[in-house]
Symmetry: C2
Subunit: 190 residues, 2 copies
């Protein structure tokens, strides 16, 4: 593909020219690559709580949303909740699925690879002996997560696997979940 | 608190008797502690996709929801999205906030500690040099996450810190995010 065509192209819904402009902008001014994402969470009794997602910091300044997004959490009845929303561990699986998918289609777009459809099914194992403190040898978190992608794209088999590797290779949530993140926690009185 | 009172109590919205019944049930039949959580995600172009959360496996059998929950993801315009929903990294922060909060209030309930209000603000740092593949020494994922809790409870200062430690000590998402999880990824044609 000639460069002029490439830069005006929309591939996988991504404005490829804008993607390369972002890359060039970061190359010329490194500090704009630093982002800070935020949520504010409020408890609503038992397993119910909700997060509000609004501003973030990026490209050298505070960034506003046109409207805040609200994300709810609850637990199913079997885990003493009211089953009004997905539970926190399911939200983690959503974050992972969403990030692998977006990373895959953005990086494929940058390489001129067109993708028609992407679906994924994720399953993760948790043993409640951990959460309930019944066995110190059982971890509290996921013991393992399996991701199965189904991809529709007019590419040879080896490129299908390459597309998936782009997701795994560049996804911020995949890196965070597989390699771990330092988390500091403080508390004060309300 | 006498045992009979304790078991009929609702503390922090949690039926304490049901919590202890769950613990006793797991002690007598270990296999019911094994849970499998799932999401199914579908791409909708560029940074947009949504996860459907429905069944899970737990307490020795498949568990249905009365209705599936749908969770959306998108990217802000500055990251070439349509800004219709929180982005994947913000969903990860929500999962972490929600799980720390629920773990804290459940484990406090089991100890008879009443909590009136809980709020938390989370912020995490990402450097796009990682995601965009511009610098191999910069990680793709969160470099660090800061969690600030505000808690209203009629307890002495040291117990306020103990409450927060319960969240960190038992939360499945906190364990997953801080210590990492093995994630396997497969792909096939749709």
């Amino acid at each position: 593909m000639a460069t002029a065509q490439k830069l005006s192209a929309i591939i996988n819904g991504v404005m490829v020219g804008d993607l390369f402009s972002t890359i060039e902008a970061i190359k010329s001014r490194s500090a704009i690559a630093k982002f800070k994402y935020r949520v504010h969470n409020q408890w609503a009794g038992a397993g119910q709580n909700k997060s509000t997602v609004d501003t973030f910091y990026g490209a050298g300044q505070e960034q506003a949303r046109h409207k805040p997004f609200v994300i709810e959490a609850d637990e199913p009845a079997i885990l003493l909740g009211k089953d009004m929303a997905a539970n926190p561990t399911e939200h983690l699986l959503h974050a992972l699925a969403a990030c692998l998918t977006t990373s895959m289609v953005y990086h494929a777009a940058a390489r001129g690879i067109e993708i028609e459809e992407v679906e994924s099914s994720l399953e993760g194992d948790i043993d409640l002996h951990g959460f309930l403190g019944l066995n110190r040898n059982v971890r509290k978190g996921f013991q393992g997560i399996r991701v199965n992608f189904k991809i529709k794209a007019n590419v040879p088999d080896e490129q299908l696997q390459e597309i998936v590797q782009l997701g795994m290779g560049y996804s911020p949530v995949f890196d965070s979940v597989t390699n771990g993140v330092p988390v500091s926690v403080k508390a004060q009185r309300l």
